[in-house]
Chain length 242, copies 2
Amino acid sequence: MTRSPDEQAFLDAYDPTAFERPSVTVDVVLLTVLDGDLHVLLIRRDEHPCKGCWSLPGGFIRMTESLDEAAARVLNDKAHLQGVYAEQLYTFGAPRRDPRTRVLSVAYVALVNAARLRPVEDDRIRLALLHVDWQGETGGPASASWHGQLLALAFDHADILGLAVKRLRGKLDYAPVGFELLPERFTLRDLQSVHETILGRKLNKDSFRRRMLASGRLSAVGEREEDADHRPAALYTFERSA
Amino acid sequence: MTRSPDEQAFLDAYDPTAFERPSVTVDVVLLTVLDGDLHVLLIRRDEHPCKGCWSLPGGFIRMTESLDEAAARVLNDKAHLQGVYAEQLYTFGAPRRDPRTRVLSVAYVALVNAARLRPVEDDRIRLALLHVDWQGETGGPASASWHGQLLALAFDHADILGLAVKRLRGKLDYAPVGFELLPERFTLRDLQSVHETILGRKLNKDSFRRRMLASGRLSAVGEREEDADHRPAALYTFERSA
DNA sequence: TTAATAGTGTCTCTGAGACACTATGTG
DNA sequence: CACATAGTGTCTCAGAGACACTATTAA
């Protein structure tokens, strides 16, 4: 490489392949906690390629919408959800990740309380159980199953799922993200259970309580849970202003 | 919104704007530490739009290369650098961030020791001093100057710069990233200085030493620095295997 | 010798884990 | 009553900051 930067820039401008445009999709990893396990919303592909495989809800980016807006649109179209927490995860761009043509995928992670999600399911849409083979933030692909049967995932969506879990585990330490998976009012035990589900390990009850109460993000509702068959716990709300 | 998910998916497939393709560039925030300050490589735009502004080195993605490969290509073309640490940062996609047409930018952060970078400079390429107005990981745009003069940044590149610094500050706690900005052999003081430059604040010497030595990622070379006008410090190397 | 920085030893403070104990609900 | 879970108080242990002290170089 002995070309000067100027020369090289000139050549770049005339490279015929430089301006061919890839397709760009936004794919959303919509996660929820159901019965103490992480679940993800998947959609069955009814067309080639990967016909019959299960894929993340997604769609091609439109020319007038931002990436965040595209993610919100996908959530609205595929799961009838509005105002859900969603953040950009990573952009996947291996040249042959889609066999048809060059497709970049801007992946998002979205979190929602399971109660808002259940009525949506139909035969093409499943809330699949998520399996993570690795500990901590090691990273790697994840798999998904439904009623005990492993679902074949389309394209590189297993990698996207894995990265979503890795990111979520990392954020849990310093960002108020567990609340997004809970209803408006919840007990400390509910919150700890969500954290344990995401992290894939048990947490110390005492220090979890201390940490959460010291964070200043919880405010006590002043009421207690009902229909518990033991001493009812105090209800808290997430304080978004803090 | 009363359409079923099936109907909506059907409509999506026939939306005429859904398959119009955006342009996609890869833009690289190439950071280095020079004289105790963060610097960034910028390139002057000689064409409209933003003629005369300074922009991050970047280029349009090609159909046969991955995103990581595109970032490596940009680094090679614009700064004659190979094998430099680079990782994907975020994808910027506001609809009007480029006035010509829809352009998505997949931003990367790259780190390099300043000694590898200095000979590259010509009039169109500058190693600009980076200014960060906020503390910690607050976030926000950053600005750049050269010989005391503020440089006008193209497009949303001030936001990209700011996010790069925010990400870097966050990673410093748990990832071995300071080494990328140092030569092969360095002293603990060098390493601390790099950390302080990135974080924008002084660190405690004692606990920094302990933390670094306890991390198991440093191995003592067995030699000491030369031409110091005081007691010379031991030299260390980064242990990539650990 | 002095000035400057490298490097060590130790005290304290803080936060997490562990555990004992009390409180309050159901059956 | 027994039993289960909520919630409190306190001990211990590990890591970070603070600081005193010694070591080693140049001038």
